[in-house]
């Protein structure tokens, strides 16, 4: 590397991670590819939500009656768990920006625990429904309830896998105040999983 190339490589704005995060501040945090993926996921969930609402329009009495059989306490608890997970992730990103690497890893672990709590609560909820003989064929409401919440359930698992990978890298010191692009990428996906549930919970569990 000649002196000219060396000087360019030492320029902060040309270092990996710095360029995307700071020099182009009009870009969202994390990798641009994850944002394209997030928009695709939001589109899929949006179609699902609108399908639920339009189908309910033709089955209002059934949907209102079946909604009362859901466990709203479990739904609310899961909402709090996902919000707490998002808060942990946001605090992890804030911590790494301050170069508090151990704190960032701890907050990520907290978010993974919240995701695990969500899965446990949801499994208890599913278990109660299956023991009552409820399945996809029970009626239109339960077809939507089971498929929509399970679709989201799978996204929580994917989000936890991503956070686990980010946590493992964070524990080994892969992120710093200067380079935390990967952590922001994982954080953005997790927030999307939370955002979608913030629409799903009132729609399926509460509104009638």
């Amino acid at each position: 590397m000649n002196p000219g190339q060396l000087a360019l490589a030492e320029t902060p704005a040309l270092r990996p991670g710095f360029a995307i995060g700071a020099a182009h501040s009009r870009q969202p945090p994390g990798d641009l590819a994850i944002w394209v993926f997030i928009l695709a996921e939001l589109l899929a969930f949006g179609v699902f939500f609108i399908s639920y609402a339009v189908t309910r329009l033709h089955n209002v009495a059934l949907f209102d009656a079946m909604q009362l059989t859901l466990d709203r306490n479990a739904g609310a608890l899961n909402t709090v768990l996902l919000i707490a997970g998002s808060w942990c992730v946001a605090r992890a990103v804030a911590a790494i920006k301050a170069d508090r690497r151990a704190a960032a890893a701890d907050f990520l672990l907290g978010a993974i625990a919240c995701g695990g709590g969500f899965l446990v609560v949801k499994l208890f909820e599913y278990s109660a429904k299956f023991e009552a003989g409820i399945n996809l064929a029970t009626n239109t409401f339960y077809m939507f309830y089971l498929s929509l919440t399970f679709f989201h359930f799978m996204h929580v698992i994917l989000g936890m896998v991503i956070l686990l990978a980010v946590w493992l890298k964070a524990r080994h010191g892969a992120y710093s105040a200067a380079e935390h692009h990967g952590m922001e990428t994982g954080a953005s996906y997790w927030h999307m999983v939370d955002l979608v549930w913030l629409v799903l919970f009132p729609l399926v569990y509460v509104m009638r």
């Binding site: 501040s25 009009r26 870009q27 969202p28 945090p29 944002w35 997030i38 928009l39 939001l42 589109l43 949006g46 939500f49 609108i50 609402a53 339009v54 309910r56 329009l57 209002v60 209102d64 709203r72 306490n73 739904g75 609310a76 909402t79 709090v80 919000i83 707490a84 998002s86 808060w87 992730v89 946001a90 605090r91 990103v93 804030a94 922001e184 953005s188 927030h191 999307m192 939370d194 955002l195 913030l198 629409v199 919970f201 009132p202 729609l203 569990y205 509460v206 509104m207 009638r208």
Partner: protein
């Protein structure tokens, strides 16, 4: 966004969830309840998008896409509930 601001947003999100849960538990139904519940969900969603996702102050396109998704989906949901009442 500093830690204290993130903590306050977390508290607001939990309070919003509590109010939504209370509206459901106390049997609130009909257009007024639906508007209130959707309004709470919209505020919670905006807080997530702007402050947790950190889309605040990064220009127009990305915040508009995500917030636009939220408002469009909620608007269509509101319209179907209004029609079905």
């Amino acid at each position: 966004m500093n830690a204290r601001q993130l903590d306050l947003i977390f508290a607001a999100l939990v309070i919003g969830t509590g109010i939504t849960w209370w509206l459901g538990e106390t049997g609130h139904a009909g257009p007024a309840a639906v508007v209130a519940i959707l309004a709470i969900a919209a505020v919670k969603g905006m807080l997530i998008i702007r402050d947790f996702m950190a889309l605040r102050g990064i220009g127009f396109f990305w915040p508009a896409m995500v917030m636009g998704w939220l408002l469009l989906v909620q608007g269509i949901i509101l319209a179907t509930y209004w029609k079905g009442h």
